[in-house]
Amino acid sequence: MRIAVFVKQVMDPEAVLAFDESGALVQNEQNLIIDAYSEYAVERAVQLKEELGFEVIAVTIGDENSIPAVRHALSMGCSEAYQVSDPDQLCTIPELKAQVLAAVAKEVSADLVMGGCMSADTGRAQVMPRVAEILGLPHVNKVVEMRLEGNLVCTKSEVNDGIAEIDVQLPAVICAQEGLAEPRYPSMWDIMQTRKKTIQTRSVNEYATSCASTSHLAVVLRLKEARKSGSIIEGETLSEVVQKAVSALRDEAKVLWGA
């Protein structure tokens, strides 16, 4: 059996963001890391590989900066890696990205497709369900637990403020939510072994049919104003501090007393 795992390279969540003159986010000099949600998917896929002997193929889309993401996936234990080169960042449009990934999933004859339910950077949370629709496969979103029983993928998924047990038949698409698996930390040895593996490269133009059908949104980005930090309440005793805090909530913030 073959599992395709989609991984995304994202800006470190701690990064200090800035815009260039054209209003685009400055990417240069930013630390890029594998997206946390991709990692949950990779980890679970690699666990399945170890338990059941599957092949796990890591796939990423992006410019040359995206290669470390699949390298990381390889050192976590994936068997093969594909990078779909997208130097012009066409695939920042989710619809197009889903098209490309669906085509790659087909090419590698994946029985199971996994990926993050969202990404920690843009957080558009839609590529995986779109891939499922394009491939005509069932998907389960926000999966926090999964196992395989023959041809059945048994999942636990976040639905309606609860956890639903949802089963789907293979082939299927699984969207990983935090909790699906605790990603391992590849050792130096794993990293060194990965150095020798080749990453198969494809070009985005081979897959993307057109992006005419997709609705293109006009989006303008700006930095959100940071919260103003308030003050640490000082006092002789803790009791006094708490008293002052309660007074501040009542008189300054005017909350809690139904004001």
Binding site: L17, E133, G162, I163, Q169, V219, L249, A253, L256
Partner: protein
């Protein structure tokens, strides 16, 4: 900018809600503002509702209220709901679909967007009807993306609870009532069991007051203390990932990027360090009171008021003071 002719802005309420949630009213008001500028109507789909609730939706801006009558319990089958919504939206020729940004919306909305081949805009924090734009957060709440809506736009959006103010637009209840029967569609998904996990009476995303428990609670005793505070305040209880992992609370009570985004009047963060991931879900709180024994904890950079103390000492005092607040 030419005449925009749009048929409908459609609001889908949460299929699992037993009583009308505020977010449904908020979405209705938001939809009304957009619809006014776009020259469109607002249709709200609800899964059940009392007369009073229907009247409320009407006063908050709905032109049509469609009461869905399913022949099957599909409330917890995201696939069935997504397919049903997609079918209804296609029939309505709806250009803008609003769903709540809750775990319901998260599971359903992207699927609906994929089925309709529409754009999907999650995590909407503002609707600017006049400027025909909606705004969403990204990059862990550090960036605001402003999406302009044009005649060509077809989108599905999920709106965060408390992002839009629910406003009574008209006093009269003129909305047209429809009853729509929806029949079961076959799904790939087989839903076997749904475990409700939400603990506490008040829904986190809707709550006016939220008390959050972080790693600083350390053990069951510490957690119980924070839980008591939430009782005394009448607040919803949430927690960081670490506390969820300890099993003190269910996943649905997680506040943060992977969990719920809250926007209460007051958020009391107990023993929470204030990681970026947590704050992505908590920074919309109007007022934050943080209790942490580490004066360097990042939470103090977000908090309006900070108490540097062990929560085991501070929370009992706080409970004592707040227990008498009605006096």
């Amino acid at each position: 900018m030419g005449c925009l002719s749009m048929s409908r802005v459609v609001v889908f309420c949460d299929s699992s809600e037993t009583a009308l949630r505020n977010v449904s009213l908020e979405m209705t008001t938001g939809a009304r503002c957009l619809a006014n500028e776009l020259g469109a109507g607002v249709r709200v789909y609800i899964w059940n509702g009392t007369e009073e609730e229907v009247a409320k939706l009407s006063t908050h801006g709905a032109d049509e209220i469609a009461l869905l009558d399913a022949d099957h319990d599909m409330a917890s089958n995201p696939e069935a709901i997504a397919k049903t919504i997609a079918k209804l939206a296609a029939y309505d020729e709806a250009d803008i679909l609003l769903l709540p940004h809750t775990s319901f919306g998260f599971a359903v909305a992207p699927h609906v967007a994929a089925l309709l081949d529409a754009a999907y805009v999650p995590n909407v924090v503002a609707i600017d009807g006049e400027q025909r734009a909606i705004e969403r957060e990204s990059y862990s709440g550090k960036i605001i993306e402003r999406v302009s809506i044009t005649a060509e736009t077809r989108l599905v959006a999920t709106v965060r609870p408390k992002a839009v103010d629910a406003v009574v637009i008209t006093e009269s209840c003129q909305a047209k009532m429809l009853n729509i029967e929806v029949s079961w569609t076959d799904t790939h998904q087989v839903v076997r069991n749904v475990a409700e996990q939400l603990i506490g009476q008040v829904c986190l995303t809707e709550a006016d007051y939220v008390v959050g428990a972080g790693r600083g609670v350390r053990d069951a005793e510490g957690f119980a203390l924070v839980a008591r505070l939430s009782d005394v305040v009448g607040a919803a209880l949430g927690a960081t990932r670490a506390v969820i992992d300890e099993g003190f609370l269910g996943l649905s009570n997680q506040i943060g990027q992977t969990g719920k985004a809250i926007a209460p009047e007051l958020y009391i963060a107990c023993g929470i360090s204030g990681s970026i991931q947590h704050m992505a879900g908590a920074s919309a709180s109007k007022c934050i009171l943080a209790i942490n024994n580490d004066p360097e904890a990042p939470i103090f950079k977000y908090a309006d008021y900070g108490i540097v103390a062990d929560l085991r000492k501070a929370v009992p005092l706080l409970i004592e003071h707040l227990a008498h607040k009605t006096d």
